[in-house]
């Protein structure tokens, strides 16, 4: 299972922007997109998102993989509408969800996770939550690691699982496995956390070369503002001649 969201973040053209501005821009646009109902504006929004994806230099295949993971939900939502309220609504639903999913994908794959966290902290997200997010994110890798190692260790000692889940023996193995992965990971997590405390961690992660607002951040803000305003005014019907 691949979960390395930071893989392309450092090389992305978008990573040079201040994460606070980026987060604000992207999230506001996501809200705007959620409000749109016209096919044309949705297409406009989607086009903007796609061009963002293009300039971000995140490999399209990576975005495509993320999109494919979300696709069942998108399809399900649209299909449900197809049968209950017609093609137009279904198409709009598909466009809307696609645009917002892609938008978030571009955001997260072009921003190092630590930067997102830093921005969230700057926006005064309670430290319990930002801590939890950081550690949980890190520990997800611990768990994937531990379960991968466990699988290797098991198979190197001749274990071959893979029977159906509903017989008692297999259920025992499964809950045993989950429990063991959990316990191993907890032991590890505990030590990882202690190691951080001993290096002076106090609930705040500082980073080298902190971010400063620059001209280009203003540029990004402006671009998003224009697109957002355009879409919203169109949605409200202020210029129907579109």
């Amino acid at each position: 299972m691949e979960l390395n969201a930071d893989r392309f973040a450092k090389d992305s053209w978008l990573s040079a922007f201040d994460p606070r501005v980026k987060l604000l821009c992207f999230l506001s646009l996501a809200v705007v997109i959620a409000l749109l109902t016209g096919t044309e504006v949705l297409l406009l929004a989607l086009a903007f998102v796609l061009s963002l994806a293009a300039v971000s230099r995140v490999p399209p295949s990576h975005l495509a993989r993320g999109y494919a993971m979300a696709f069942p939900f998108i399809a399900a939502a649209s299909l449900a509408l197809l049968f209950t309220s017609g093609t137009g609504n279904a198409l709009n639903m598909g466009l809307r969800v696609s645009a917002s999913v892609l938008l978030l994908l571009v955001l997260v794959s072009s921003t190092p996770f630590m930067d997102v966290l830093w921005a969230l902290r700057w926006f005064k997200l309670p430290s319990v939550l930002s801590d939890m997010i950081m550690f949980t994110y890190r520990f997800i890798f611990v768990i994937l690691d531990e379960s991968g190692r466990m699988r290797l260790a098991r198979s190197s000692r001749g274990f071959r699982g893979g029977r159906s889940l509903l017989d008692g023996e297999a259920f025992k193995v499964l809950s045993n496995t989950i429990g063991m992965i959990f316990l191993r990971s907890y032991r590890r997590a505990d030590r990882v956390y202690l190691a951080l405390l001993s290096r002076g961690y106090d609930g705040r992660v500082r980073s080298l070369g902190g971010h400063r607002l620059r001209f280009r951040d203003a540029g990004m803000g402006l671009a998003f503002l224009i697109i957002g305003a355009l879409a919203l005014t169109q949605q409200m019907g202020w210029y129907v001649w579109w």
Partner: protein, 215 residues
């Protein structure tokens, strides 16, 4: 989902999450932080794995009951909030608009129902064990699903069909499907709790301690 429903979701979920965060912060033992985080990470990973339930259907763990059983109500809410936020940040899962409602269903409704049932069934039974855990797990899944179904229905009615799903379809569909999936949740949750009570009983104490601190 209709924007009004989405807004409503945020409006209900946020204060409750904020309240849980506030209460949790009042008595936070530093040993609990890694435990909460690893639990959140564990549930996150478990949510990515599908398990076969019956008749060809698959489901995945929600984990709210597991979190509440191990950490108490506030911890449970915070853990579920964390999971949903990361899903949103890492996968762009469902996007930001879905986050408000997801929070409501899985980080508020499910933990509250689980907590209520765990408290109700605990008397006379062996602390968090016994029947309470599977029952709470099953019910919390059902409750979250019904809450989601209700939102779909409400969206449909409010928007006149541009969002959501017709009530006659959404409620029973969500209800029946998740009544089945809930069985998987119940089995896995009890399995994990039993396992931990055997090999690492001290981890079960975080929730009990949180309980006592509140009382």
């Amino acid at each position: 989902m209709d924007p009004i429903v989405v807004g409503l979701g945020w409006a209900i979920a946020l204060p409750i999450v904020a309240w849980a965060v506030h209460r949790l912060r009042q008595n936070l033992d530093e040993r609990v932080v890694p435990f909460m985080a690893i639990l959140a990470a564990g549930i996150f990973v478990a949510q990515m794995l599908n398990f076969p339930v019956a008749m060809g259907t698959t489901g995945h763990l929600i984990g709210a009951t597991l979190a509440v059983a191990l950490l108490g109500l506030y911890g449970g809410i915070v853990v579920m909030t964390t999971i949903l936020t990361i899903q949103c940040l890492v996968f762009g899962d469902g996007g930001l608009t879905a986050l408000g409602l997801n929070l409501l269903n899985m980080a508020v409704v499910a933990p509250l129902v689980a907590y209520g049932l765990l408290r109700l069934t605990r008397k006379g039974l062996n602390r968090w064990n016994g029947l309470g855990v599977p029952l709470a797990a099953w019910a919390s899944v059902l409750a979250a699903a019904l809450s989601c179904g209700a939102q779909l229905a409400l969206s449909y009615t409010l928007s006149g069909g541009s969002y959501g799903i017709e009530p006659l379809l959404s409620l029973p569909a969500m209800g029946i499907y998740h009544a089945i999936i809930g069985i998987g949740e119940a089995l896995i949750t009890s399995g994990v709790v039993l396992f931990l009570s055997r090999v690492a009983p001290e981890t079960l104490e975080f929730g009990i301690r949180a309980e006592e601190a509140k009382a």
